[in-house]
């Protein structure tokens, strides 16, 4: 391989305006540094040419877990939102109103200076300029809402929540903020920034104008922070950025990192990507030591495995579903949605749509199956309607809804033929492939169905918000928290808005999203408001959430606001050609973080020759 690459060089040189004649091998990722260079792709973060090395910039070239640090890294435990791997924080204790964090005593920035309370305070202030705070703290706060950062002992800081606020996510939000050096970012903050923050947090209606002005001012500071371009990377992570190319970045080991002895690779190269095919190609060539999840067809999977890559699977808190605009007939009728759930053979759809990274959903509950199993009792699980593939049952439900079948096709109650257009998005290859199977199944059942493609995701969201799609693919069952999952079905996009302690519902039939859910249902003889229940999840401890989660799951199973098709699996790949000791399948918490976090835990060591 090396020889072939050398042979290409004179050609390359000749092509470039009489360029150089003698060149060395170009792409060094796979061969360089004797196993010391770890090459990967940050699946959440392509490289952006010309963007600053600033974690608060939307396109910023910084890399969480490698150079950019947090106090902790979430394990994404669905029943304990405060389950974390340590980051800059060695340990932490939480109370109802605060979190006390003990920093790693040896934590230092890459310039050799120690990480101090000033850094944490500046980082929290910056976080509050980035839209992280709730305006006017109240019962349903979801924001960071830091009131103070105070040093209580050497290396120990108490970060307190705004008085009166009760957000069970507060510790999680504190621990997941990016910690940056005050020496670099502090000058962007005005001296009175904490006064502005406190003013913005006021829940006093008499000071609402002042609060609004303070929020606006924080927003302006936030924009200044986002656009800031530091001259160089000063980080407290295991690596520090040495160089950013337009299409890749190289980070060298940070000698001042507090646990430098755990870090195996001497260097990390993060490559850019623009699509799945590029990642597959790199893996097929054995160029990546770790690769993120991509939708992947079976034949490509075989090619990737054959190239020496190993598959590692972890839980993925997201699900592909078919969602309905309940403002459009006949999808306003629950029997119709239930009938469609019986017609669609989820196993067959998954086999084509997401054969590698998908598992057919067992039942629609608003949660992925593995999370539902943890929250529902065995009796409740047994009582869920799995909506098995059953065309006779589907026909019965449609007839009950007033639809009729004539000449092999179904007609609406007013006698017009019923056709469906199933919307998907360009570039979402699994949705497109799965959508074709769904369309074939519905057509065979007597509902002529075609798929339609929206040009890109921005257009999809806009047109969805305009209520243009009666039926389409959507991502649901987000997690790990159940509040996030049910927000997807009964949240702001459905017209439910939490303001202070009150949840209001804007009726949006015929407009707004397809998830146009009514504000009240009858469940086991009682009237429930799913928006209110969902909002409550944000303020209840996990053990207090159980009853609500069960209600919402049963309601979703009964009402079928979406048909969950497959649960995604977080399929990643590692290659042990140069490194060993990778996390294994099932280490869900670790695998939900970047390899930089794996390294901090002592994983990924150079392979002994």
């Amino acid at each position: 391989m090396k020889n072939a690459r050398r042979a290409a060089l004179p050609l390359a040189a000749a092509l470039l305006l009489g360029g150089t004649a003698a060149c060395s091998p170009g792409a060094g990722s796979s061969d360089s540094a004797g196993g010391g260079t770890f090459t990967t792709i940050d699946g959440n973060h392509p490289i952006s040419a010309g963007a600053p090395m600033n974690p608060f910039n939307a396109a910023g070239n910084t890399f969480l877990g490698y150079d950019t640090m947090q106090l902790g890294f979430t394990k994404k435990n669905p029943q304990d939102p405060n389950d974390f791997f340590p980051g800059l924080a060695r340990s932490w204790k939480t109370t109802d109103t605060s979190i006390t964090v003990e920093l790693e005593p040896d934590a230092k920035w890459s310039d050799g200076t120690p990480v101090t309370v000033e850094d944490v305070r500046a980082s929290m202030a910056i976080a509050l300029t980035q839209g992280s705070a709730t305006v006017g703290a109240g019962l349903l706060t979801q924001g960071l809402d830091v009131a103070e950062v105070e040093e209580t002992a050497p290396h120990t800081y108490e970060i307190s929540q705004v008085p009166g606020a009760k957000n069970i996510q507060f510790p999680r939000l504190v621990l997941t903020q990016k910690i940056v050096p005050a020496s670099v970012y502090g000058s962007l903050l005005p001296a009175d920034v904490w006064d502005v923050i406190h003013a913005s947090q006021s829940a006093d209606p008499a000071r609402a104008d002042a609060a609004k002005a303070a929020v606006d001012r924080l927003g302006e500071i936030g924009k200044k922070v986002s656009a800031f371009a530091p001259a160089k990377d000063v980080s407290a992570g295991p690596f520090v950025i040495t160089r950013v190319n337009p299409g890749s970045a190289v980070l060298d080991r940070n000698p001042h990192f507090f646990a430098a002895d755990k870090i195996g690779p001497k260097q990390v190269v993060v490559r850019n990507y623009t699509g799945n095919e590029q990642i597959w190609s790199y893996m097929t060539n054995g160029e990546l030591d770790a690769a993120p999840f991509t939708a992947i067809p079976d034949n490509v999977l075989q090619r990737i495995l054959k190239a020496g890559n190993q598959r590692v699977d972890a839980i993925n808190y997201v699900d592909a579903a078919i969602a309905f605009n309940q403002g459009v007939a006949p999808f306003d009728k629950v029997e119709v949605r239930q009938a469609l759930a019986h017609v669609i053979d989820r196993e067959a759809v998954t086999k084509v749509g997401q054969p590698v990274g998908g598992t057919p959903s067992k039942a629609t509950t608003g949660l992925i199956d593995k999370v539902a199993e943890k929250w529902l009792t065995p009796e409740q699980q047994a009582g869920l309607d799995p909506y098995r593939h059953d065309e006779a049952k589907a026909a019965e439900l449609l007839q009950r809804a007033g639809l009729t079948k004539k000449d092999g096709t179904w007609h609406l109650p007013d006698g017009t033929p019923w056709t469906i257009t199933l919307q998907t998005v360009n570039g979402f290859s699994d949705w497109i492939a799965g959508g074709t199977v769904v369309a074939n199944q519905l057509t065979a059942f007597g509902i002529p169905t075609k798929t339609a493609l929206t040009a890109d995701f921005s257009t999809y969201k806009k047109e969805m918000a305009d209520g243009k799609y009666p039926v389409g693919f959507w991502l649901t069952a987000l997690g790990p928290g159940t509040d996030a999952a049910f927000q997807r079905l009964y949240g702001a996009d459905d017209g439910f808005t939490a303001i202070g302690a009150t949840v209001t519902h804007k009726s949006g039939r015929g407009s707004g999203n397809w998830l146009n859910t009514p504000a009240s249902f009858t469940l086991d003889g009682a009237t429930v408001n799913p928006g209110e229940l969902t909002a409550k999840l944000t303020v209840l401890e996990p053990e207090e959430q159980k009853e609500i989660v069960q209600q919402l799951a049963l309601l979703s199973n009964q009402q079928v606001p979406v048909i969950q098709i497959w649960d995604y699996t977080n399929v990643q790949f590692v290659n042990d050609k140069r490194f060993t000791d990778f996390p294994k399948s099932g280490q869900d918490g670790l695998l939900s973080n970047s390899p930089g976090v794996w390294m901090m835990q002592g994983y990924v060591q150079p392979k002994k020759k």
Partner: protein, 330 residues
């Protein structure tokens, strides 16, 4: 000289009118696209576990560089800034000036486009002369066939084929960057070699795409010159074949110079597809990303730069032609 200056002034005026028209058109066109810059980011934040309300608030700050003024006011402001060479700030880059973002991308379009163009021109024209002179031989026929084939291949098909063969299948050439990031930039053989290696695939694509049309045009031009009286006269006077070939080449290549200048603009526009296939981080790649991100200022800036390149190339082509062919000046 006076005539030349007058022609130059007229061309510049026409060019500026064209740029103004395109700037106006693209401004309203990009703002008419459905969606907004924060949509994809919002989903990303929510999928990453951020509560929806916070995700919305974060988008409002991080992508809050969109003007909320009426579109006409935005347009007038845009034109005013444009006169000062200011293209505004990028939304998807959270307020980084558009000129800075574009400046980082431009060299990586200019370098491969010009290299590919020059290479295709030199090889294509030379092959065209051979194909014309040996038009009745097998080698001439084969050359003409290669030209016809290459002229008919769509750019993205060729780019995908080269990427598959040379990276995915044989892995002899890199793609996805401008150089090996582990090599420090500088005027060193190692760095320049790395830049050259990374540019091979896009340059080869540009070169192969242009090769066919240069060959066929040159062949046709040479064929017509071959029938001219002065060639017959030269042959009768016993002038050496090499000298006759020079006469033929110089006369035949004349019309191609105009096309050469025009091709610069076309190749700039074509860079969108080619850079996307190779993930080569030039202007075309940036334009595609900016469309996906609904980054209106960046889209406008990239469109404008490509337009200006085409307009300038057109003006240069016409002026160049009037310089090298005195008949045009009459």
């Amino acid at each position: 000289m006076k005539g030349f200056l007058l022609r130059l002034a007229a061309k510049l005026a026409a060019g500026l009118t064209m740029v103004f028209t395109v700037a106006t058109f693209t401004f309203f066109l990009v703002h008419a696209l459905p969606g907004n810059p924060g949509d994809a980011a919002y989903e990303g934040y929510v999928l990453g576990g951020m509560p929806p309300e916070l995700a919305r608030a974060k988008v409002a700050v991080v992508y809050g560089f969109t003007s909320h003024e009426p579109l006409v006011d935005q347009y007038l402001g845009y034109l005013g800034q444009l006169l000062h060479g200011n293209l505004g700030v990028s939304i998807s880059y959270s307020g980084v000036p558009v000129t800075d973002v574009i400046r980082a991308a431009v060299p990586w379009t200019v370098l491969p486009v010009l290299s590919g163009l020059l290479l295709s021109f030199l090889v294509g024209c030379t092959a065209g002369v051979v194909a014309a002179v040996r038009r009745n031989s097998r080698s001439g026929g084969l050359l003409s066939l290669s030209g016809s084939l290459m002229a008919g291949v769509p750019s993205f098909v060729l780019a995908l084929l080269l990427a598959f063969l040379f990276h995915t299948l044989w892995n002899v050439l890199p793609y996805g960057d401008t150089s090996d990031v582990t090599i420090a930039p500088g005027f060193t053989a190692e760095y320049l070699g790395s830049v050259a290696t990374h540019a091979v695939l896009p340059v080869a694509t540009y070169a192969l795409l242009g090769y066919g049309s240069w060959l066929l045009t040159m062949k046709s031009s040479v064929a017509s010159v071959l029938g001219d009286d002065f060639i017959l006269a030269a042959e009768l006077r016993g002038i050496a074949p090499a000298t006759r070939m020079r006469y033929i080449g110089r006369n035949a290549v004349l019309p191609l110079f105009t096309t050469l200048a025009l091709s610069v603009g076309h190749m700039f526009a074509g860079s969108v597809l080619i850079e996307d296939v190779f993930d080569y981080p030039g202007l075309g790649n940036l334009l595609l990303k900016s469309i996906g991100n609904r980054d209106y200022p960046l889209m406008g800036g990239a469109f404008l730069l490509i337009t200006v390149t085409i307009v300038v190339a057109n003006i240069l082509a016409e002026l160049l032609y009037s310089v090298i062919d005195p008949r045009v000046r009459r």
